[in-house]
């Protein structure tokens, strides 16, 4: 009996200890607010009348957002939400969420003018750029559904999730080994089909590579890797019909490649190469012109077709700063200063709106989404 009591007590204690995660807080409707504590240091004159001193005798004064020094604005609350995206018109921030006990999981959105989080679609999946099509797995198959009328098609990806071409006319998926080891030699075969799964065909097999994106006319795709044992590693353009490949730039293991919105440039980085000159952040024109290595290294997203935003990896800096980099020249211009625009990003989770005017980021301070208007310098 005592033993049973002992076990019972222990079980209760252990159960209490095992519950070590915080219960999600309820979702409050978001509203606009200026972040607290943002202030600009000011220099006060050596002598001031007493009545003025009493009001201003502080080393900091509140600062209003100005075109030159933008201030982030809180968009969501309650720890909401990771992996934000933008609507095509740049007017909404969209994310996966389940905002309350009685709400369904799905795609939610908040207008950048502020307001309530509203459900956009209760189907969790990969959306086309226009969000008229959504792909999702179900019972071991993948379906593409047209949101307008609910028509859906099973696509022959054998359960692998697909992504859409920019126009939504095509889908693509990769077939490869499930392995962690030897990523540089693992094979991945890239398939393309019409959005409804018809005309599915293999396009190319890459070794140690991945799909970057589509060319402007959707006649071809850009991939990284090696297309054969004797072929160089790099960035390739591959024709969808003929599988003919053109080397855009030779590079050992280009990492985290992003195609610019208009398809004119690809940015990527090379790290830990024995060729020290190769290590760094690169921008290469997709027409095959020579690429350039940037002076900055860190996190990056495209702002316009020929303009990057880079957050330099600088551990000694007082905070995060945004830089704008001209893709054609490599010329860099500082957009924000940490002393004037306080930004803290969690998980490297930030995205720039399609119109290039704003960025949304997951705050490392409060785990909520914030929006920053990007200045034009």
């Amino acid at each position: 009996m005592k033993l049973r009591l002992g076990f019972l007590l222990s079980a209760i204690i252990l159960a209490a200890c095992a519950h070590n995660t915080s219960t999600p807080t309820s979702f409050r409707l978001p509203s606009w607010s200026i972040p607290k504590g943002l202030a600009r240091p000011v220099t006060l004159p050596e002598s001031l009348p007493e009545e003025i001193i009493s009001e201003t005798a502080t080393p900091f004064l509140p600062v209003e957002p100005t075109p030159a020094d933008p201030q982030p604005i809180q968009l969501a609350e309650g720890g909401c939400c990771s992996l934000p995206m933008w609507s095509q018109d740049s007017q909404w921030v969209i994310f996966l969420d389940e905002p309350g006990e009685y709400a369904s999981a799905g795609l939610y959105g908040i207008p950048i003018t502020g307001g309530e989080s509203t459900i956009v679609n209760d189907q969790v999946g990969v959306y086309s750029k226009s969000r008229t099509l959504v792909a999702y797995p179900e019972a071991g198959r993948v379906y593409v559904e047209r949101w307008a009328d609910g028509t859906r098609w099973a696509v022959p990806s054998e359960g692998r999730i697909v992504s859409f071409s920019p126009s939504g006319r095509f889908i693509t998926w990769a077939v490869g080994s499930r392995s962690i080891r030897y990523p540089d030699v693992r094979q991945s075969t890239i398939w393309v089909a019409d959005f409804d799964g018809k005309n599915a065909h293999e396009v190319i097999t890459v070794n140690g590579g991945y799909l970057i994106g589509w060319d402007v006319g959707e006649k071809g795709i850009y991939v990284t890797g090696r297309l054969g044992p004797s072929m160089p590693s790099g960035i390739w353009h591959v024709n969808l019909e003929t599988s003919a490949a053109r080397l855009v730039m030779e590079a050992e293991r280009p990492r985290s490649a992003l195609l610019s919105p208009g398809g004119s440039y690809i940015v990527f980085y090379i790290a830990l190469s024995s060729d020290l000159e190769a290590n760094g952040l690169w921008v290469v024109p997709t027409d095959g012109s020579p690429g350039i290595k940037l002076d900055l290294f860190g996190a990056y997203r495209w702002r316009y077709d020929d303009m990057l935003v880079v957050i330099p990896l600088e551990m000694d800096a007082p905070g995060i700063s945004l830089w704008q980099v001209d893709a054609s020249s490599g010329e860099a211009l500082q957009l924000t200063y940490p002393e004037l625009t306080s930004i803290s990003i969690a998980n490297n989770d930030w995205q720039i709106s399609p119109d290039g005017r704003q960025m949304v980021y997951l705050s490392a301070e409060d785990r909520n989404l914030w929006v920053l208007r990007l200045p034009n310098r």
């Binding site: 033993l3 990771s82 790290a271 830990l272 000694d316 785990r367």
Partner: protein, 250 residues
């Protein structure tokens, strides 16, 4: 036989030895539970005000030196391999991965005593476990060569304890260190990020894509930040075997 059983029962009920044995068991298990509770608190907290450990590399991060590649916890990568590579760690990535060229010196994150060199704990080709006086142990995996240290040897924070290696043994494939912080009994792993003095959010600012944590679509906000991740109890059931997950498995 029945009498004997009854007698034994009476004897046990009347014997204080059994009472104290039961009480002792309660105390022991409760103590373990208490340690577990403390461990859980320390491992799940946000960045600690005064992290007890130092960073395992010297110098600045960069494409030539070292950089942060995978966080601890419920990463999308670990989710994909939850039934294989990470099954013993409840489907979580139970350490932090930092890429660096082969041969890069690895520094002890705290004072301690070498517990094991090249033990069965995995992370080939070589590994090292150091026990610390503060109730934690640190584990350094994928070392290039066997550590020069011996079991029982004292180490101090910042001392070179090994060199970065490559689990694929090529030094060109994926050279990196897999660093864990465990309980002193080595049965639990904690999120190293709040326990190591570094600006991890800033270190994560590399590349064109975010660090992704697998979403449980029944609770999509859970474990979505690199500093807010659950402890790992080795050998226990998966924590991320979600009914509806995002990104989907492939």
């Amino acid at each position: 036989m029945d009498n004997q059983r009854i007698m034994n029962g009476k004897k046990r009920r009347g014997n204080p030895v059994w009472f104290f044995r039961g009480l002792l068991l309660v105390v022991i298990v409760a103590a373990i539970g208490g340690i577990s509770f403390l461990d859980a608190q320390s491992g799940s907290a946000a960045q600690q005000e005064d992290p007890p450990f130092a960073f395992p590399f010297a110098g600045e991060p960069g494409p030539d030196s070292w950089y942060f590649i995978q966080a601890y916890g419920n990463t999308d990568f670990a989710y994909r391999f939850r039934n294989s590579t990470y099954v013993a760690g409840q489907g979580l990535h139970f350490g932090v991965d930092i890429a660096a060229p082969c041969g890069t010196p690895i520094l002890a994150i705290g004072d301690g005593t070498v517990y094991s060199v090249d033990s069965w704990h995995g992370a080939a080709p070589h590994n090292l476990m150091i026990n610390h006086d503060n109730g934690y142990a640190s584990f350094y995996g994928h070392l290039l060569v066997r550590s020069h240290l011996k079991k029982g040897e004292k180490v101090v924070q910042g001392q070179v304890v090994g060199q970065v290696g490559d689990p694929d043994l090529t030094c060109a494939s994926r050279p990196h260190i897999h660093l864990e912080i465990r309980s002193i009994g080595h049965t639990r792993a904690y999120n190293p990020l709040p326990l190591i003095d570094a600006d991890w959010e800033r270190l994560a600012l590399i590349g064109g894509a975010p660090h992704i944590f697998e979403m449980d679509m029944d609770n999509p906000r859970k474990w979505q930040n690199m500093l807010d991740q659950p402890d790992t109890r080795f050998g226990y059931p998966l924590l991320n075997d979600y009914k509806d997950a995002w990104p989907p498995d492939w």
